[in-house]
Symmetry: C2
Subunit: 151 residues, 2 copies
DNA sequence: ACGACATCGTTAGCAGAGCTAACGACCTGA
DNA sequence: TCAGGTCGTTAGCTCTGCTAACGATGTCGT
């Protein structure tokens, strides 16, 4: 059997995930605002803090964004004193981006604030549901990675 | 025991979900572009098509957006011929928004394109993982609803 | 019945994020 | 060496979000 049911289920699930992602981010965006950092800046700062010094191009690719966009995001972070640009010694075309101590502190605070609302909802789940949702999140992550690999 | 483990798990899960949502939408945004409709417009159109005629204010609340923003989104959809405004007879302050047949067609096409990439990845899952991910999506939906209710 | 207040949608004006095109600085390989 | 590629930036556009302010309409208390 060719399983049209399976086809329909895949579409329905895709739609469900898409819709959930949209609405989740809309809620969390409000918390982002409280940190004074927009979502793209917070996301880029996170990559810089955890991914060590990166060139602007690497950062743009990691964030799935074009270089001019990343230039402006980094400029905004630099103006806020969260990040510093430093030219590469070997290859003078490159601009490496480093997180400042302030950048690290702000990221941690923002991160905590951001997930607080979500985490407080998560805490209401019983152990079974928590485990199931964890597994769902893991599967979703793998799904996204497989999409990225497939381009 | 106060279960610090549970606390940490909730935070980690919240972060995982947040990150997954960001990256999922970044991938899907490319597909949105192919339809000529931005993500907010597509999302609003979806609500209009499936939620019947709505006032602009209802639409703004459904999309978690302020009225002026929704005014412009609806104007964009109207200029594209996907939607029509019509004043309410009873209460002349209200503006009802209807989907045109073209709007319905475009939504379906865009929706199919949008979820295609995701669905093709979903289809590679075996039955067990599909069921687990489905349950995860369901739990996530409920989580978001509970966040919304708690404001 | 009528005035005060509330609600709805719009306009105006701002900041931010995304894009493409074009450019200068720099590296590399023939 | 120099022709062509790579990297980051600038310029200029659109779209999305917001707040403030306003006009039109409803509603409610007196």
């Amino acid at each position: 059997m060719k399983s049209p049911k399976r086809e329909r289920d895949a579409l329905a699930l895709a739609d469900k995930l898409h819709s959930a992602a949209i609405h989740l981010l809309r809620h969390l965006r409000k918390e982002d605002d409280a940190s004074g950092l927009s979502a793209p800046r917070l996301s880029a700062l996170s990559v810089i803090v955890f991914g060590g010094p990166l060139t602007l191009g690497q950062l743009a690719r990691a964030e799935q964004v074009k270089p001019p966009t990343m230039t402006r995001i980094v400029t905004g972070l630099e103006d806020a004193g969260l990040v510093r640009r430093k030219g590469d010694e070997r290859d003078k075309r490159l601009t490496k981006v480093y997180a400042t101590p302030k950048g690290q502190r702000v990221l941690m605070a923002g991160r905590a604030r951001r997930v607080e609302l979500l985490a407080s909802a998560v805490k209401k789940l019983d152990a079974r549901n928590l485990a199931d949702l964890w597994r769902g999140a893991q599967l979703l992550r793998e799904l996204i990675d497989s999409m990225r690999r497939a381009q």
